[in-house]
Symmetry: C2
Subunit: 287 residues, 2 copies
Amino acid sequence: MTDQTSGAWFSPGMPVALDCLPCLLRQAISVVKKITGDSGRQAVLLQSLLQQASSLDLSLPPPEIARQMHQLLQQQTGEADLYREENRRQNAMALALYPEIHRRVQASEDPLELALRLAIAGNVIDCGVSDEISELEVAAALEKALREPIKGDLTAFRQAIHSARQILYLADNAGEIVFDRLLMEQIGFGKITLAVRGREILNDATRTDAEAAGLDQLVTLIDNGSGVPGTLLADCSTGFRERFAAAELIISKGQGNFETLCGSSSKVFFLFKVKCEVIARRAGMPL
Amino acid sequence: MTDQTSGAWFSPGMPVALDCLPCLLRQAISVVKKITGDSGRQAVLLQSLLQQASSLDLSLPPPEIARQMHQLLQQQTGEADLYREENRRQNAMALALYPEIHRRVQASEDPLELALRLAIAGNVIDCGVSDEISELEVAAALEKALREPIKGDLTAFRQAIHSARQILYLADNAGEIVFDRLLMEQIGFGKITLAVRGREILNDATRTDAEAAGLDQLVTLIDNGSGVPGTLLADCSTGFRERFAAAELIISKGQGNFETLCGSSSKVFFLFKVKCEVIARRAGMPL
């Protein structure tokens, strides 16, 4: 974060809270377990993580700390994409649901609101928060999404997407991206540039997942050049940062994007489920 | 744990599971926050904890790791007893409930079973698991205790406490110890030796708390000479270990005592609420 050349792009986002650390450790342990079932090797990997954690920069937002932990594990094991199978499963699960929920959106009195609700509900698919989301959990989240109040200014959102000629949509996770497709349909694919992560990290959506959801055929697809499970502008490619700066309107999905972008720009609408106390406090929303 | 003089007393208990570490970190962070509200100082304390954690011995049971973390914090801050006020509050809260629940036990068709249920319910007061238990949570736990099934052999427990001439009762937490009093009344104070922790650790009960519950006047009161939030025999005083060895029957309250004593002796009855997945798996009980 001391890179002066990217200084202008560095938005502080949300510094990690002490309460984030147990959750980040839980996340890392879940990755360690995916790497090996051997308890001796697990212990060695964990010690190196804790060693790294002891010189943590607590001014960083949680997704950057997550990236550093995963980078260390990748370096030590050569495993670049531990979530590929999980992502395939989540995409397939969401695609199986797609025809039915697409019909429901089409038949709805307010298709935009329903698509928005479902896109937010899709944010339940988050391996950073809970590994191995089941079909039942996703189905329950969808049902709940139909009834729950949406916090935030829906009218402003409606107006903004209506007026904007082009919109930058920041995807979050695999699986979830299929639900985003519903909202993008309502907005109009033509004006959307969809940005995915530049490298595999947790179950975050990459080009592979956008392609699995068929979105590469429908919108302008870019990646942000970064392997942070969020959008840390200083870590993103120059090309992405230019798009970000030039965008008329930005739709940002998920907690990771919120943690890295909150306070960065007034043209961002954040769509996410509040999944922890820290975010609830920061966003002024109930858990 | 390599001390040969105590080797004969060392029972391995339950080695820490990877999944325990985020919870232990959460516990340590809660202590760090009690020590100081200054975020810079919190960060320094946390870094030193993580530094220590990176050379953790993962064969130790979780309570011994908790002790090491708290010892480090005590050394760095000089704060020996951060939970004194919390313990006072919990004792006072339980003592306020005591007359009413005592009457309910007396009036019950099966006073022993009800007292046992309430003693287990009292185990909800555990700052290792969740800081700042409210009166409402305790009340809810008591109500639930009246309906929930008790896992384990109640008949064997009944017979064992009936036949034993003397019983060693290992207390767990402040506040909870008042609920233990109900069960001790049913067993008969005369045959009970009550053991509390030898030093302050989290909200674990010490002599001060046994005295607050009036138990020093009713039973033989000892302490185990140790500051582990459990009963790590290798860390306990010789006197306590002799009592442990000589005891006809041992009643062990709480997860910490289970984590350090499970598998150690067939004369131990473990009474506790299952409060995490790791313990649920180890005990073969649902969460």
